[in-house]
Symmetry: C3
Subunit: 437 residues, 3 copies
């Protein structure tokens, strides 16, 4: 990529406005409130629905808000660990999720076939879920992509996600209530495939801004803790009411608790002088939520959930320590946030746990179909991600040159940090700049 | 204002204690738990009540907590963008809101006429709402007012707000479920009128502390995101249960999503080299929540809500870029946070959208009364704000001199920032200081 | 303690893994989902249960999540005020709470006698509560203890807490719905006793890292505000549904609002030049939630709740200003976060208010039993804390030497702060370190 055209002045605004206008037109044509559709839509599509819901029911609203917090605060702040990329982490996260949820609402209807799309709280939860895949993928390419590239990625990934999700849930009839396979593994391997296509040899020896400072690690912990706390809502939000939903809450809660202990233990075990590493703590403590996803609503027993979380914490921490450097050096996959360790491997672990749990009769279903769902999700992710990577690496989308990676100032007006007095942006200068502009 | 008396040692504590003691006495005389009043109070006052609520019902409690988060985290952290005013932003926000909600509970009862005031979750939501007007106004004068001035402003503004709200809802019978007119436009224009009265020619060329640093902008994003996520609760909390409440959730959710795209697009379009400006992202992305407020519970259609949000994002961003400098230079209105762009113009847009929606029959009502409600809210705001500004600019209330504006250290013990080692406040020094004091 | 062995490489990981494996085995033997036990467990144990709950009921889930946020965000970030101890504050908080809730689930069952333990949302709330005692104690010894010491403390304190809680609620039949006595006073005096045992003469004149910087105080405010907002959930979560639960919400909400005013007033009154002190604002504003705990569900009237909050704010602020230095210099109790002022004295105030309220007939009960419950909680705390302190001060647990207190870098890989360029940890170096390790 010898030529970079990073000036976003027209490209980005025009794309964003165009996408939003098209979306509004599609909503005008195809989208109604749930109650206008007399609730037929939800009762038709089994699996992922609370079948007994009334029209205009907002009983799922607190669950929805928990998921919303995970998407916008959780993912957004988790990625602020980079020292000079906080604006993009939380800001572009907001942009992609806000667009993604609109696109996700449309795609849910599209793949689920004809007629109007009826917005319900359940659909809004699923729309948030569809954006989660994009945000996981965003983590893999964080710091190395332009907003234009990422908006295009959002359209493509959510479209492919919705197709795969439809296949897994409706055609294969597989269980994946907390979406270990369809969201986490899918989003991670999609992201790794994109990252492979966007490989930058120039970053082989690292980049001075590809790291954290003390305060940025604390901002990231805001994301970690909100993700950790509300993960039981993520895994149970669309479960059937009653015992399955309750079970999903309890299993996720216990898996995460166990995962914290193993993540901390492994972090200390593998690090220099037994010190804890913030990268592990910020990420591997969450692997228990990912890994228990597929069988969250199954009767695997409290200790079964804890065992899954315990293993996930170990695998995830070891991945950060030993596998990520190999992926980068050998497979040319530069995974900024290590999504392979938080979402990829724990997602596969979740899929495997689901196969075992179904085979053991913990939930009615077919172990074969579970295995097919896992393979299918990985296949869609890798192929979809590779194609998407090929498309967004075209030089016209404003991809930043190596030296500007991990740096907000390429896409943002950035005030200087405390102590660098002359550079801070006062309102007076602000207005002056405006006058000059 | 030649003479400043900024030492708060006696003035502030005595005022705060006195106000709290008076408030406790008023509560002892006039306030009971809801169930002690057998629920009569809520069923009497139509419009803003869930008429079918049971006694001691806490089903609205999750909605209340969402609004609570918006008031205390949302508004509080949104204003921490200033580099040296974070303590005041989040701290004085807490003070004003904690006092304001008590005063708001009293005023709700006062204007709604005789008998005891019965505290319910619904009343607590309305009390939080009444503080929102004060916090919007606080944004307009942020950095330029003392805690004493602001406590007096809180009493006056909430009293006038409650009068206007009573007039709009009960006398005019206008719809304003998300309070575009009665909270957002009211709070903003009240604030602009106060800011006009407190005009400081000495700040015409800006102030070195009237700006952000990198980390302070990230703290502000905590506020932005929590406001953005929970705005559907704000606009639907006091809607009638069932379809209206559900509609308010969906409309607000979609309006905000669309608003993000247009705010980002316009920010990039108008800024130097197409870069995004944090001031726009922190604020204009929320304008969709403000603008859809009045007609949130009306059947405007999903695309109608998105259209309103889309327009709000454009108007708000353009306001920050082009209108705010003019307001400051021509009309002598120094609006620190640009509340005119986030709450003022989008609030009016919301009022206008409400007139159109009612005229089109999207909700039973009178377009004329909607228009009267908008005019009434603006009138009360401008006159009330001007009078309040005249009162609080009396030199006895400890208004800070120009050079101490936007600086926490005038009202707070402030430790120095990292890197300025000698200035940081250790506990040892802390105790020593205490011994000396 | 002349010999320090602070290298955690094997000690910490082995302890953490061992504890988790033992815990998983105990769960496999003793813990089932609630619905597997046909709900018998909850209906047996009166007082702290919603007696009419159905099986697999998640109606308490939003309350649980509010409490969860208080435990993990609230306590975690409240302690990030220290300038170089943020990783430990929020990170070790997560570790202790994640382990503590598992241990708390076991201990609830253990003291409540035979048979299986059935996990319900109510039990999960109680498990979170049991961790709160540990986190309060953590505040007293913050910066001066190793993760190994703290894990041992967690086991001991939760075991003793569960015994005392059983005694107070089941044997004495005392009321303590918001746990002023059994959590707050207990956790604080337990912590003070531990701190006495760990007294460090070397820190008599302070420590350069025992203080805040500007940004760390803002991080701490995230904790303060979330605790403040959700405290009504803490005090009402396990109250009987209907009037008692509603009353607990309203009383706590009003007590906290009144407390803010008195805390601000007193802070300004006692500080140099009338300035506000962040230590007071971060802590004393919460004392109203602690103090109203015991009688939160009693008919003390809105103004009664406010009076309690008002007093608590005064007592707490005065404690920080005048009592903490005396405790340190005279009684050799170095209470890092001042938990005596936030949880200790307000907890006792809460216990006393409960005695008075029961004596006045605000709730059916025995004032004598209330007094016994208070005495009992203090006794268990002081004796339990002293014994625990004796155990964890054994030199083998890796307690840090004086000069490394209040410093994350003893247990964490710490990147340098912005501006100290050469020290920041980039991913490149990260990988290089890994290669060298």
């Amino acid at each position: 990529m010898p030529a970079y055209s990073t000036n976003m002045r027209f490209k980005f605004p025009l794309l964003a406005i165009l996408l939003e206008i098209i979306t509004i037109i599609l909503f005008a044509l195809f989208v109604e409130y749930e109650h206008e559709g007399h609730g037929h839509s939800d009762t038709k599509h089994g699996e992922h629905g609370n079948k007994t819901k009334n029209i205009a029911d907002i009983s799922l609203y607190p669950m929805f808000q928990d998921v919303h917090v995970m998407i916008f605060i959780g993912f957004g702040f988790l990625m602020t660990f980079l020292k000079r990329y906080g604006f993009s982490s939380v800001g572009i996260n907001l942009l992609l999720a806000a667009f993604g949820l609109q696109w996700g609402l449309l795609m849910q209807g599209f793949w689920h076939g004809g007629g109007k799309i009826h917005v319900s709280i359940l659909k809004m939860i699923n729309a948030d879920f569809s954006t989660a895949t994009v945000l996981i993928t965003f983590g893999a390419v964080l710091g190395k992509t332009s907003p234009v590239q990422l908006l295009i990625l959002t359209i493509l990934e959510i479209t492919i996600f919705a197709a795969n999700e439809h296949l897994v849930a409706e055609i294969l009839g597989a269980s994946d209530i907390g979406a270990s396979m369809t969201i986490h593994a899918f989003g991670a391997y999609f992201g790794l495939a994109v990252a492979r296509m966007l490989y930058r040899p120039g970053l082989k020896n690292g980049h001075e801004n590809d790291g954290s400072v003390y305060h940025s690690d604390l901002f990231a912990m805001i994301g970690t803790i909100f993700l950790w706390m509300f993960w039981p809502s993520f895994n149970s939000a669309i479960a059937d009411p009653g015992v399955p939903q309750f079970t999903a809450v309890v299993n996720t809660y216990l898996s995460l608790a166990a995962c914290v202990l193993s993540a901390y233990a492994l972090s200390s075990l593998v690090e220099h002088k037994g010190k804890l590493d913030m990268v592990h703590i910020q990420n591997a403590t969450l692997a228990g939520g990912v890994a228990v996803g597929t069988c969250a609503d199954m009767a695997i027993g409290p200790f079964g959930a804890m065992l899954i979380g315990f293993l996930a914490g170990i695998i995830s921490t070891l991945g950060f320590k030993f596998l990520s450097p190999i992926l980068a050096s050998t497979l040319c996959i530069q995974d900024t946030c290590g999504v392979h360790n938080l979402h990829g491997m724990p997602g596969i672990l979740g899929g495997l746990a689901g196969i075992v749990a179904v085979a053991l009769g913990k939930k009615h279903g077919s172990a074969g179909m579970q295995a097919a769902a896992l393979g299918c999700s990985l296949g869609f992710a890798l192929v979809g991600g590779a194609i998407t990577g090929l498309i967004i690496r075209l030089p016209i989308w404003g991809q930043p040159p190596d030296q500007n990676c991990f740096d907000d100032s390429i896409y943002w007006e950035v005030p200087e940090e405390e102590g660098e007095n002359d550079g801070s942006l006062t309102h007076g200068e602000h207005f002056k700049n405006k006058a000059e502009a």
